[in-house]
C-alpha cells in the first residue's frame, strides 16, 4: 500500500538526515519504525505525511506518487498522522478537535463517528466541552489519535505515541493502536520503546544515522542478536561486558 523508495531528506540542504530510506507497509499491516535519538525515524514520518519534501527518491501510496504533495493532499489520499507532541488545536474544545478531524468529509456519519471515538476513548467523553490545551498528556494523545481517525484513513502514521506518558499509560496507548489496527487500518508507528513495539507489530525497520540497518518480522527481531545488544536493553549482557 505504502512504498517508500530510497528517499533522501535534508533540513538544511547540507547534511542528510535520511540517506536513502526504503520501506513498505502492506494493506492492514502494523509496522514499527525503531531507532535511537536522531536516527531519522520522525523525519521519515514527517516526509511521508507531507511536511517535508525529499531531495530524491519517491513515495507511493496505492500506486500514486505522494512525495512533494502538501500534507493536506496526502491526508485526502487516505494517510492520517498523529504527529510528535500531538499538535492539537489548544484553543478548540475536545469536540471541535474531533469534528475538525473530519474536515475533508461531507457524509452524514460524522456525528456517529464522534460517538465511536468516545466509545474507544471513554475518558474524552467527560471532557468534550473542555479546551484541548487543558487535557493531560495521555488524554491529548488519545484526542490526537481519534482526530486522525476521524478522517477514516487507510493508513495511520503514529509518531512516538508513548512519548512523555506514564508507564501505565504507555501500555494502554499501545493496546489502543493494536485495536485500531485490528479494525482494519494499517499503521506505521515510530517508537523508541523497541521492546514493546516488537511485541505488538507485524514487522519492523530499524534506522541508524538515516539508514535502515535492520528489518524483518517483529517476532524474529526480538531474538536478533544485534537488536538484543543495542535496542532491547539486554542488561545481563551489557553488565557482563563492563
Amino acid at each position: 500500500m505504502l512504498r517508500v523508495d530510497n528517499i533522501i531528506v535534508s533540513y538544511d540542504g547540507i547534511t542528510q538526515s535520511l540517506k536513502g530510506v526504503s520501506l513498505e507497509v502492506g494493506s492492514g499491516e502494523f509496522v514499527s519504525l525503531l531507532g535511537g535519538n536522531g536516527s531519522g525515524k520522525s523525519t521519515t514520518l514527517r516526509t511521508i505525511c507531507g511536511w517535508l519534501k525529499p531531495i530524491s527518491g519517491k513515495i507511493e501510496f496505492e500506486g500514486h506518487r505522494i512525495d512533494g504533495l502538501p500534507a493536506e493532499q496526502v491526508l485526502r489520499r487516505g494517510v492520517a498522522t498523529v504527529p510528535e507532541s500531538r499538535r492539537l488545536f489548544p484553543k478548540m474544545t475536545v469536540r471541535e478537535n474531533l469534528e475538525i478531524g473530519a474536515y475533508t468529509r461531507h457524509d452524514s456519519e460524522i456525528k456517529s463517528d464522534v460517538e465511536r471515538m468516545l466509545d474507544i476513548f471513554p475518558s474524552l467523553r467527560e471532557r468534550l466541552g473542555q479546551l484541548a490545551g487543558t487535557l493531560s498528556g495521555g488524554e491529548q494523545q488519545m484526542l490526537a489519535t481519534s482526530r486522525a481517525l476521524m478522517s477514516r484513513p487507510k493508513l495511520l502514521l503514529m509518531d512516538e505515541p508513548s512519548m512523555g506518558l506514564a508507564p501505565a499509560l504507555v501500555a494502554s496507548v499501545l493496546k489502543i493502536a493494536c485495536r485500531i489496527n485490528a479494525m482494519g487500518t494499517a499503521i506505521l508507528m515510530v517508537e523508541q520503546n523497541a521492546n514493546a513495539a516488537l511485541r505488538i507489530t507485524n514487522r519492523a525497520y530499524v534506522l541508524e544515522n538515516g539508514n535502515v540497518v535492520i528489518s524483518g518480522k517483529s517476532a524474529a527481531l526480538l531474538n536478533n542478536e544485534k537488536m538484543k545488544d543495542v535496542y532491547l536493553g539486554n542488561l545481563s549482557r551489557r553488565e557482563s561486558s563492563i
Binding site: C49, G50, W51, P70, A71, E72, L75, R76, A80, T81, P83, S85, R87, L88, F89, P90, K91, M92, E96, E99, I100, G101, Y103, T104, L131, G133, T134, L135, S136, G137, Q140, R147, A148, S151, M163, G164
Partner: protein
Amino acid sequence: MIVQQLINGITAGSIYALIALGYGMIASILEMINFAHGDTYMFGVFICMTLLSHGVPPILAIVFAITCGCLLGVIIERLAYRPLRNANRIAPMISAVGVALILRNVAQLIWGPAAYSFPALLPRTIIDIVGVKLPILQLYIFSIALTLVVTFSLILKRLRIGWAVRAVCQDIGAARLVGIPADRIITLVYALGAGLGIAGGILYSIYYNAVFIGMGFSGTMKAFTACIVGGLGNLYGACLGGLGLGIVESLTSGFISSAYRDAITFAVLIIMLVFKPSGLLGQRVGQKV
C-alpha cells in the same frame, strides 16, 4: 458628562474592536506585530474618500475600497510574508515595517501630507434622551461595527471555513494534517483582515471626520494594544480589548485632555506588557508534552 464620555468611548471602542479582530487573526498567523495593518487600511480609506469626492455612490465606493484593500492584503502576504514563513521571527517583522513605510510614502506621493475631511455619509442629528445627548451618528457606527463583529464571530464559530481559519491561526502544520488547504486559508485571512480594517477605518474617518496618512500607524498601535489587552491569539479578547481601549481613551480625553488620547494607548500597552503580557482574558494554555 460621564455618560456622554462613555457613549463616545463605546463608539470609538466598537471601531477599535473591528480593527483589532482583523488584526488579531493576521497576528496569530504571523506571530508578531503586523506593522503594515494600519497602513493597509489607511490606503483603503483614501481610495474610498477619493471615489466619494468624485461623486461615486457611497455603497459602490465602500465596496470598491474594501475589495482593493483585500487585494492589497493578499499581495503583501504573497510578496513580503510568505517567502519568510520559515525564516526566523524577526525577518517578517522587518519586512512588515518595510511594507508599512512603502505604503505610507506611496500614499503621501498620491494624496500629499495634508489631512482631508471625510464626506458625511451618516446623519449627524442629535437626539435628546432624558438630558443625555445621543448623536444618531454614534448609534449608527456602533450598530454597524457590532453587526460586523458579531457576524464575523458567528462565521468563525459555526461555518466550516471559520473552523479552518481558527485551526490555521492556532497551528498551520496541524491544520494541514487534518486536510485544511492552509495556503488558501492564509490568503483568505489576509484578505478578511484587511477588509475588516478598512471597514473600521471608514467608520473611524466618518466618526472623526478626518482622513490622514498617520491614521494607519496609530490604528496599528491601537489594534495591537487591544490584542495585548485581550490576550494575543484570543479574538474575542481582542474585541473586548478594543472596546475597553476606546472607553479608557475617551474618559482620558474628557477628564484630562484630548491631547493625551494616543498617549493613553501607549500607556495601556506598556502597562499590560510589563504586568500582564498574557492579557486580561489570556488563559495560559500549557503545551504539555
